[in-house]
Symmetry: none
């Protein structure tokens, strides 16, 4: 289920956070579902339990999962919804990235075709 790259520059715990977010967004993890335990993930990924814990703490802090000591971690109510709202806030991040590309001489057409390409993939998946 999870795949982490220990050689990556982005911290392992951050990779975990991102993947859980992705799973929630795609519906692989639904609200109320139990998230794999710290120890099982630690074994499965050969990652120290503390690192898993850190990722889970962060997800808890963001209100995406709810950690219940002695029972496990569960995907929070409205996790998906709140995730969609927060991600949407990154639209300005997109703007700045486009601005940078424009500065580098990338034409509007190239960027538009890039958008089309991505949404083309999406449709393909849904077939």
């Amino acid at each position: 289920m999870f795949q982490i790259d220990v050689m990556s520059r982005t911290p392992v715990y951050e990779q975990l956070v991102e993947q859980v977010e992705k799973f929630i967004l795609t519906g692989i993890l639904s609200e109320g579902d139990k998230v794999p335990s710290v120890r099982s993930l630690s074994m499965e990924l050969s990652v120290n339990p503390n690192t898993i814990q850190k990722a889970f703490s962060e997800l808890d802090r963001r209100g995406l999962i709810s950690s219940v000591p002695g029972k496990g971690c569960f995907v929070a109510e409205k996790a998906r919804e709140s995730l969609q709202v927060s991600k949407r806030g990154n639209l300005e991040g997109l703007s700045s990235q486009i601005r940078e590309l424009a500065l580098a001489g990338v034409s509007k057409e190239e960027i538009l075709s890039c958008v089309e390409k991505v949404f083309g993939e999406e449709e393909k998946k849904n077939d």
Copy 2:
């Protein structure tokens, strides 16, 4: 000319690199131009000379400036061109960001309007 934010999360030396790149891209720094010296920048920005040096080393490594011992640093030949090529490589970064937004339920229309907005700003500037 330069503006750095010591409280920012992005390393000071990286901020310097980014700004030099931007200056090259916008033409504020043209090929052959002399880049301010390590010492003068250090004074001006109240930044440790080592940090400035690190930024210059990085720019040198990327082939954007070239150091001439005893004379200073100069914007390299074809700096702008090579910069445009490398930045263009970020198109895949754009794709992944768009993919994320799509996953979060942002519609194609919203993204397209975002692209239009940015290029609208660009045109305005050129008026």
Copy 3:
């Protein structure tokens, strides 16, 4: 009668203890009354019997209930009285909380109005 929230951060056994205390204080449970059995509560609340047992042990330790082997648990003599005494010990907890609020710039008036509000509610109930 009992309501527990398994997702809550406060341990289930503690929630149980608090609720029994509240029932004693409000008179819902009077001295000598039989407390529901571990097994029935376990069924009713879908909570592990061990957890119920732990709560009862704690209540026993505090002298609020007494277990009669083979017969069940009963609210102890003077349970209400001793509870009132121990709760009164929380007055110092109140002081420290008020001190914190004062430090945060909350005025004496605001706190007094808060006190009035609570006692206003109480009177309303007794009407």
Copy 4:
């Protein structure tokens, strides 16, 4: 400056967070001030650097300090103000505590005198 009690039930890192908050609120730590380094605090308090780090991460997350890798941690802009706002949100916590005491038979007068006492102390300090 800092005092932690390793025997306390409240985690060491939480004690640290609380103390820093208190220092900010009382003005012992002003905005822009440098907070002692992770390592120096670790030595001074005989607490593992990781534990200090955890406290600082939490404070950073709350926007009360700003961690700058390689430079140190600094009290954030508006730290005091935002702290006052968030603490004020605890007024409802005060209400519930008062409600509990009322339930235990504590009279309104006793609580009012408690409030008076605390604010009496405050005035004394300011003399």
